[in-house]
């Protein structure tokens, strides 16, 4: 009885977590808000979230809303911050170029098709990033092709044939719908099992 009372009274020691000064995240253009996950991440580092969101949305006002932008926020000891906004993510650019919204689900699946011209244009956009200034365009193109393979997007040297592409996208939309239906079924079954 006495030990039970003793254990009830004893409190857990609260350890204050010190978060790193660098925050790397993807924020959608024009859609920065204090909602999680961005709000807590900034708040834990002592940044004024409202000011940050205002500044970010102002700087990305010229970009189409909803485009994911890799962002690096370096928070200084006096709670000011350096904000670096990069060009849209390569995976988003590749999916836009291929006209798809979802990548591959399993190895060997072809989720979309683009040509080397698309790769070149994407490389031109990415070459303006601070981290890629000075990197040869050929190197950037190679990295984009590697990433397109991981998403399941096929890169071909010839220009895309509109008729074949239309046929492919129609088939693909059917495949994606099936995959999403399967995933929804599995989720529903799991919910029923676990209650």
């Amino acid at each position: 009885m006495a030990t039970k009372a003793a254990t009830r009274v004893r409190k857990k020691e609260v350890v204050k977590v010190v978060h790193g000064a660098l925050l790397r995240t993807h924020i959608k253009a024009g859609m920065a808000s204090a909602a999680p996950p961005l709000g807590p991440q900034l708040g834990q580092r002592g940044v004024n979230v409202a000011n940050f969101c205002k500044e970010f949305n102002k700087e990305t006002g010229h970009i189409k809303p909803g485009v994911p932008l890799p962002t690096r926020i370096n928070v200084k000891p006096d709670r000011s911050y350096d904000l670096e906004i990069c060009s849209p993510t390569t995976s988003w650019l590749l999916k836009q170029a291929a006209g798809i919204r979802r990548g591959r689900q399993f190895y060997g699946e072809v989720a979309g098709k683009i040509s080397v011209k698309h790769v070149y244009e994407i490389a031109l956009i990415k070459s303006k990033d601070r981290a890629l200034v000075g990197v040869p365009l050929e190197e950037i193109c190679r990295k984009i092709i590697i990433q397109s393979r991981s998403i399941g997007i096929e890169v071909q040297k010839e220009d895309l044939d509109p008729e074949l592409l239309k046929q492919f996208l129609a088939e693909r939309s059917g495949t994606v719908a099936k995959q999403l239906a399967e995933l929804a079924e599995k989720k529903a079954a799991k919910m029923l099992r676990t209650g």
């Binding site: 981290a131 890629l132 200034v133 000075g134 990197v135 040869p136």
Partner: protein, 238 residues
């Protein structure tokens, strides 16, 4: 049997179907030790041998002189790359550990100035320069060295300027067109202006005597004209 239940390190255990990211508890659990004791007669014994340090050193030296197929291929690849790019300047530098992002940005900035930064193993670089005049300087290819390549002599100036700004890279040796340059010579060369600027200066120095001669003759002619004009003016006033 009881002795076999004691934890033994020299018994080879079966492959575990668990993550290798955590340490196996030592000593092993009681059940595990029972299993190991039971299979010990079947498992082959691992024989430990003690190698003398001199023999170990000799083996290490022999291994460092032998090249595996992939090392030879890499050395050939590096050699082909240097020949294809037609590099004329090579700077061997001592590079200290530095965060990857800092090195990445520095490399990109150097590339904009025509300096290519590479890090290869010392063994590979010794193989690359085997049979060349730089073969005798294989002592330079040791430790944590990195290499800066350039296509023309103006790279030396940029190398000196860039490495002076940074505290994690120190140039040790400068090679240009197969010749070794001393650090003092390179610093003097770095203080000179660009080649085009020097050419323009040389041209202006060479044309200076001719232009001064022309100015002298012009001055004499002008003075003569002025004197005659003033004499005519004086005569008219009289």
């Amino acid at each position: 049997m009881l002795r076999r239940l004691l934890p033994q390190d020299n018994l080879r255990t079966a492959v575990r179907q668990v993550s290798s990211k955590y340490q196996k508890p030592k000593p092993r659990s009681y059940k595990r030790r029972w299993f190991e004791a039971a299979v010990q007669p079947v498992f082959p014994q691992e024989l430990k041998s003690c190698t003398p340090p001199a023999l170990l050193h000799q083996r290490n030296v022999e291994n460092s002189r032998q090249y595996m197929d992939f090392e030879v291929a890499l050395a050939q690849h590096v050699k082909n790359w240097m020949q294809r790019e037609q590099f004329r300047v090579l700077v061997v530098c001592q590079q200290l550990p530095v965060p990857g992002r800092t090195l990445w940005f520095a490399k990109n900035q150097w590339r904009l100035k025509g300096i290519e930064h590479k890090v290869y193993g010392s063994k590979i670089m010794r193989k690359v320069f085997e049979g060349t005049p730089l073969d005798s300087l294989d002592i330079a290819f040791a430790g944590s060295t990195s290499y800066l390549f350039g296509k023309d002599f103006s790279t030396l100036k940029h190398v000196v300027a860039e490495t002076e700004k940074l505290n994690w890279i120190v140039p040790l040796l400068y090679f240009a067109d197969g010749k070794i340059l001393s650090a003092a010579d390179v610093k003097e060369l770095a203080q000179l202006a660009d080649l085009e600027h020097v050419r323009a200066q040389t041209v202006s120095i060479l044309t200076q005597p001719a232009s001064s001669l022309t100015n002298t003759f012009d001055r004499v002619a002008r003075q003569t004209t002025f004197t005659l004009d003033s004499y005519e003016h004086a005569l008219k006033t009289e």
